[in-house]
């Protein structure tokens, strides 16, 4: 599957590049606003300042990096995400509705193998939506995860999620067991 280059912003952020990034983000956010409000022109009284402020904050907090993604990996991830979300919802429902809440929670530490950037953001963002895991801390090399059931195969599930996120961005992960 060929990987597409989506954001071609250069690393050495010259002022023109920064401006381009700001305008690009503002256009995308304006389209989102348009999607919400449709043809209601007066909504832009709120929308325009909101879009400009969001674009400015976004460009400051997250300077552009080069990133690629693979459409096949993204589709597979979407299907996996929907399935796991349903399992996660069902898991919570089952535990909540059982006569005694069926829990043996705890905190675990999971070493990160994905590179910093969009891949790691996607990983940390989805861990909390999948069955039995919620991110409660992010360090440069590991995340802290609260699990509902310590006996579950959480570690294997997180590895699986990592592999699938890596496939979305066309990343090759370092070998298993690299970090202690």
């Amino acid at each position: 599957m060929p990987a597409l280059t989506v954001n071609a912003t250069r690393h050495g952020s010259l002022p023109p590049a920064a401006l381009k990034r700001l305008v690009g983000r503002a256009v995308v956010l304006a389209l989102v606003w348009l999607g919400f409000t449709g043809d209601d022109g007066s909504s832009w009284i709120v929308g325009l300042p909101a879009v400009l402020a969001a674009a400015w904050i976004s460009a400051r907090l997250w300077p552009g990096v080069r990133w690629r993604w693979s459409p096949g990996g993204a589709l597979a991830f979407a299907a996996y995400f929907v399935r796991e979300s349903c399992l996660g919802g069902w898991d919570v429902a089952r535990r909540a509705l059982s006569p005694r809440p069926d829990l043996s929670p705890g905190l675990i530490s999971h070493p990160l193998r994905l590179p910093a950037g969009p891949a790691r953001h996607l990983f940390c963002g989805t861990v909390s939506l999948l069955p039995g895991t919620a991110v409660v801390g992010i360090a440069p090399d590991r995340i802290q995860v609260h699990v509902l059931d310590q006996s579950a195969r959480v570690e294997a599930d997180l590895r699986e999620l990592e592999r699938r996120v890596a496939a979305v961005f066309g990343i090759t992960l370092p070998a298993e067991g690299g970090a202690p």
Binding site: V82, G89, P101, P105, A134, H146
Partner: protein, 102 residues
């Protein structure tokens, strides 16, 4: 009642179930951390089914797009807020509830 309306009503049943189950979990789970699971998982799936049901009743493609956008934004916000609350709890030294006796 058209077939689509019927299908839409049918999808609202699991939506309702997951919202109720999520609320029960919120009330019954023992500590802050496990309650975060109730909010991020059951409610998201409930909203997913509700959004699907409403998409079937949408007047046009723009409404379908709008509903999908709402779902995506709620997922992102839910996951982010879950992390921020959990992180602050860890920072304040809140110990997670553990099962004492079997």
């Amino acid at each position: 009642m058209s077939f689509l309306d019927f299908l839409s009503a049918l999808l609202l049943v699991p939506a309702l179930f997951f919202f109720v189950a999520g609320t029960v979990a919120l009330l019954r789970f023992p500590d802050l951390y496990s309650r975060l699971h109730a909010l991020t998982k059951a409610d998201n799936v409930g909203l997913g089914f509700a959004v699907l049901a409403l998409m079937l009743r949408a007047e046009n493609g723009v409404e379908v797009f709008k509903l999908a956008l709402i779902w995506g934004l709620v997922l992102a916000a839910s996951s982010t807020v879950c992390f921020l609350i959990g992180q602050e709890a860890v920072r304040r030294g809140l110990k997670p509830w553990t099962r004492q006796s079997p």
